[in-house]
């Protein structure tokens, strides 16, 4: 029997397992009642667990138990919870920041139409930028610069 064919039955068992476990209890009770020496019947709880193991949902029960246990502990010890949450938050923030930076600066291309054509731009960026700046060369730019200088000297002399 393929594992695939078992899955529908496995899911069916999971959906009905409260009822099926009850039925198994009843079944074992009637088995025990029929025995000449009922005390020889093993532990019903252990048997039920072993039978439930067959259906492969024990991990789900264990997970639920662990989650409940964890939640109870977190509620009980608030300071620990706070410390754990803070440590997690800091850790997440640090890694996210580091990744964002590396991603933007190293991994991704420049946000331009054809970034490969800009490859020679970077080493002499300052020189190119200053020579290409229109405020230094154009007449209006020069005037604006002079005005702002005047404003700057006036306001600084006023403040002294």
């Amino acid at each position: 029997m393929s594992a695939l064919g078992r899955w529908p039955r496995r899911i069916w068992y999971f959906l009905n397992r409260r009822r099926l476990e009850r039925e198994l209890d009843q079944e074992m009770a009637s088995h025990r009642a029929m025995m000449a020496a009922p005390h020889q019947f093993g532990s019903t709880i252990r048997l039920r667990e072993q039978s439930a193991d067959v259906w492969g949902w024990t991990w789900m029960d264990d997970l639920c138990h662990d989650l409940r246990y964890g939640a109870r502990l977190l509620v009980k010890d608030r300071r620990f919870t706070l410390a754990a949450v803070a440590a997690l938050a800091l850790g997440l923030a640090a890694t996210t920041t580091a990744f964002t930076f590396v991603n933007g600066a190293v991994l991704r291309d420049l946000p331009l139409a054809s970034p490969d054509r800009w490859s020679g731009f970077e080493p002499s960026m300052r020189a190119v930028a200053s020579s290409a700046c229109p405020t230094r060369t154009s007449a209006t730019g020069a005037r604006r610069l002079a005005r702002s200088r005047r404003w700057w000297s006036r306001s600084s002399s006023r403040s002294t």
Binding site: G5, R6, A33
Partner: protein, 109 residues
């Protein structure tokens, strides 16, 4: 001395399937019949029987139905499904082949 440890792995499944091929039975009756038919040489503990039955249910080889026994007790009876019958045939063929091979070695060594 009744024993169960002597059963090779997987044998219990074949025994149960073979019993259910003859007639539908409940858990206690399966254990009883294995005990009687083996001249009290084999005894199946509940600890092996119920997990084995669950495995048969999981594989779709048997179906469990609640009925009333002759003694008027509510019992859960197991019946072989067509898939179970096919599995029984395959398992029996496999068992006979292996057992013959073992016999050949034991007899001719």
């Amino acid at each position: 001395m009744p024993r169960e440890a002597g059963l090779p792995p997987g044998t219990l499944t074949v025994l149960i399937l073979r019993l259910l091929d003859a007639q539908p039975l409940h858990g206690y009756a399966i254990a009883q019949r294995i005990h009687l038919l083996s001249h009290e040489e084999l005894s199946v503990e509940e600890g092996s029987l119920y997990p084995a039955l669950q495995k048969l249910l999981l594989n779709g080889w048997v179906k469990a139905i609640w009925t009333t026994s002759e003694s008027g007790r509510e019992v859960r009876e197991y019946r072989l499904t067509p898939g179970g019958r096919k599995q029984l045939e395959a398992a029996l063929a496999e068992y006979r082949r292996t057992s013959q091979a073992i016999d050949l070695v034991l007899d001719n060594a």
